[in-house]
């Protein structure tokens, strides 16, 4: 598969990372992604990412749950097999509210989590390229995509000037997020730093 080249810079503090993101973007480089050990608030805006619509999806799943539960129960108890419970009405809406509510929550939650996993390509046994193993520990790792025009040496110097304390070059397959850890990839997975 086609491979892409990345220049990777590591940061330790938010206060250094944010100005660096701004500098890199104004200089016209394409930030592939920034990997952080915890959710850094505002970083998505700094990177120019749009808001996620995951909550809208959740709302749609929830509404689906409400209508499914309501229509199923009312069909079952009024037309498919109407039972007489002490002469009470067949269409007993107040008594159905608990189940309708629970089903709404169930569908919204399950649907959102599955959508989240799908969008982020998360699944067991999935192996991805990790630019730096300490991105899940204490480093904030910025990966910049190199094009044919990019002068790698310049970019590295630029990143160091912007405050990155460790800069290196890596290659990753274009569809690395769905890739497997075969032997080729073992090479690029190995970063320069030993994990303490």
């Amino acid at each position: 598969m086609a491979k892409k080249k990345f220049v990777v810079g590591c940061f330790k503090e938010e206060a250094v990372l944010f100005p660096a993101v701004k500098k890199v973007r104004t200089a016209g480089y394409k930030i592939h992604d920034v990997y952080t050990p915890y959710p850094v608030h505002g970083l998505d805006h700094a990177l120019g990412l749009r808001e996620t619509s995951l909550h809208t999806a959740g709302f749609i799943y929830g509404i689906t749950g409400t209508t499914t539960a309501l229509s199923c129960i009312s069909w079952i108890l009024t037309s498919d097999w109407p039972l007489n419970f002490g002469g009470k009405p067949h269409f007993a809406l107040p008594a159905w509210i608990p189940i309708i509510f629970e089903f709404t929550v169930l569908l919204a939650a399950v649907g959102m989590v599955l959508t989240f996993c799908y969008l982020c390509q998360l699944a067991p046994f999935l192996k991805k390229h990790h630019f730096h193993l300490r991105a899940t520990d204490d480093y904030m790792v910025m990966a910049i995509e190199c094009t044919a025009k990019t002068n790698v040496a310049d970019l590295k110097a630029f990143l160091e000037n912007a405050g990155a304390f460790e800069v290196n070059e890596q290659e990753a397959e274009t569809q690395w997020w769905l890739g497997t850890y075969d032997k080729d990839q073992q090479l690029i997975r190995d970063t320069t730093i030993e994990i303490a």
Binding site: A15, F18, D33, V34, Y35, T36, P37, Y38, P39, V40, G42, L43, D44, L47, L49, E51, T52, L54, H55, G58, G62, I73, I76, L77, D80, W81, F85, A92, A95, W96, P98, I99, F101, E102, F103, V105, L106, A108, A109, V110, M112, V113, F116, C117, L119, C120, L122, A123, P124, F125, L126, K127, K128, L133, A135, T136, D137, D138, W177, I195
Partner: protein, 479 residues
């Protein structure tokens, strides 16, 4: 300098000189080290209890529900008492992770992971009781509404017992999803620092290939917030629906409209007590005193004294209504079967009052709230009291029906009922021991998120800001 700032007046949530790496080290240490002898001892006791539970269930399934001492009027005894008790305990985790997230309570980050785990295990234990109580448990799938060849005869959607099926299973599923989605980044942390192949592989599977990408974090935050928003009414609905099992009936002692809020408050009360019991042991054994601080313990004790008092008001309201309604049967249940110490089950009512209403009042004193021994002792007392509460509600309302000919003999459990209850303790602690060994017991990423605003050493660094003049502060820090 961090980009956010929190006043020094607030107690730090993380003590000691910590950076992000140190947080990872501290929380991953128990996972990467060999378990202690004490862990093995505890684990095998738990497994032994679980085996005893299996034996009790085996006997009950083989010979029928007659193995239990349930009788003509006491049709629900220890089984449903234990069910409600465990479900109640299973409320604290989601309350901590969801409601306190919405209320922006920073201290939840230290305890939410273990509390959520506790919730999930408690709900697993709770679920056992109604299932095995069915007797012919191989027919359990009849509660599922699916097109069938029996008519199709559907489940009764108007029945609170079916609402319960939906409520508990939804609650379990949503809690599990919430818990696991929070665990994914932490599993990735363990995976990326793993030194053995097996650990790398297993945690790699569990981490779902998490990388920490900014976009993924953005979605993760959105997911957590919406799941918290969904779980908040859910956690309130679950014990409300459990209370409907009683409140929608016409049994004196059950037929009261105060049940939903009273049950929810009681559930939070017992849940927090169980969290305290487990946290006090966990922080000591794993040396996590810097993360689960006295401030955390105190905050939970405040919730305990609040909910304990709400429950107390509910007990008194019930007594008042038993008299005010001038209904003979209500009066008999509340004033004879319960409040009269010398009636057959009077001891359970006064045990409940002493444990749930009187003793937690000690937490009005700050010294007591911050005393570990008092807290540990009280956490046990509260859970005994909450067990009594469910026993009181169920048994004292049932053992004397309207006609004296329907008064049953004194109900006391058989060894199989007790064994079943002990078995669920085995299940709970087996799961909890495994969790505490193989899972990050504190949410690593969430602690890192609040570390630079609430950590002790960071607070000291920014201390000077508080002495600044208003305009200077506005110019430099407030935007």
């Amino acid at each position: 300098m961090h980009l956010k700032y929190e006043s020094q007046l607030r107690e730090p949530l993380v003590y000691g000189e910590k950076d992000f790496h140190q947080v990872t080290e501290d929380i991953c240490r128990p996972i990467e080290a060999k378990p202690s002898k004490l862990w093995y001892v505890g684990f095998f006791i738990a497994v032994a209890l679980l085996m005893f539970g299996f034996y009790s269930i085996y006997s009950e399934v083989t010979y029928g529900v007659g193995q239990w001492n349930l009788n003509k009027t006491v049709g629900w005894g220890w089984d449903i008492t234990n069910f409600v008790w465990w479900v109640g305990i299973g409320h604290a985790g989601t309350l901590i992770s969801a409601i306190l997230l919405l209320f922006r309570q920073g201290w939840r980050t230290g305890v939410n992971r273990a509390a959520e785990a506790m919730t999930i295990f408690a709900v697993m234990c709770a679920g056992q009781f109604p299932i095995w109580h069915m007797g012919r448990v191989w027919m359990a799938f009849f509660v599922m509404p699916y097109p069938n060849t029996r008519g199709p005869l559907w489940a009764n959607f108007n029945s609170p017992l079916l609402w319960d099926v939906f409520a508990i299973s939804t609650y379990f599923t949503v809690s599990l999803l919430f818990w696991y989605s929070g665990l994914i980044p932490d599993f990735a942390t363990i995976r990326d620092r793993a030194k053995t192949k097996l650990r790398k592989k297993l945690y790699g599977i569990a981490a779902f290939g998490w990388t920490g990408s900014t976009k993924h974090w953005q979605r993760h935050e959105s997911l957590s917030l919406v799941l918290a928003g969904l779980s908040t009414p859910l956690v309130l609905s679950v014990h409300t629906i459990v209370s409907f099992d009683f409140a929608t009936s016409v049994i004196p002692g059950w037929h009261t409209t105060i049940f939903p809020p009273y049950f929810v408050a009681g559930a939070v009360f017992s849940g927090f007590a169980m969290v305290q019991t487990l946290m006090l042991i966990l922080r000591k054994v794993y040396g996590l005193e810097d993360y689960i601080t006295l401030g955390h313990i105190e905050a939970m004790n405040k919730v305990i004294v609040l909910t304990g008092s709400i429950v107390g008001v509910a007990y008194l309201t019930e007594l008042f209504m038993g008299w005010y309604s001038q209904n003979k049967y209500e009066g008999y249940t509340f004033w004879y079967s319960r409040a009269n110490l010398f009636s057959p089950y009077g001891w359970s009512y006064w045990g409940m009052m002493a444990c749930n209403v009187l003793s937690p009042q000690i937490f009005w004193f700050k010294k007591m709230r911050r005393n570990l021994f008092v807290t540990f002792f009280m956490s046990i007392i509260v859970n005994i009291g909450m067990w009594f509460e469910r026993f009181v509600i169920i048994v004292t309302s049932l053992y004397r029906d309207y006609l004296p000919s329907s008064w049953s003999i004194y109900y006391s459990p058989t060894i199989f009922e007790i064994g079943f209850y002990l078995g669920t303790f085995g299940l709970f602690f087996t799961c909890f021991f495994l969790f505490s060994k193989y899972f990050p017991v504190i949410a690593i990423a969430e602690i890192k998120h609040v570390l630079q605003t609430t950590g002790e050493s960071y607070k000291e660094k920014v201390g000077g800001i508080e002495a600044m003049q208003g305009e200077e502060f506005a110019h430099d820090y407030a935007h």
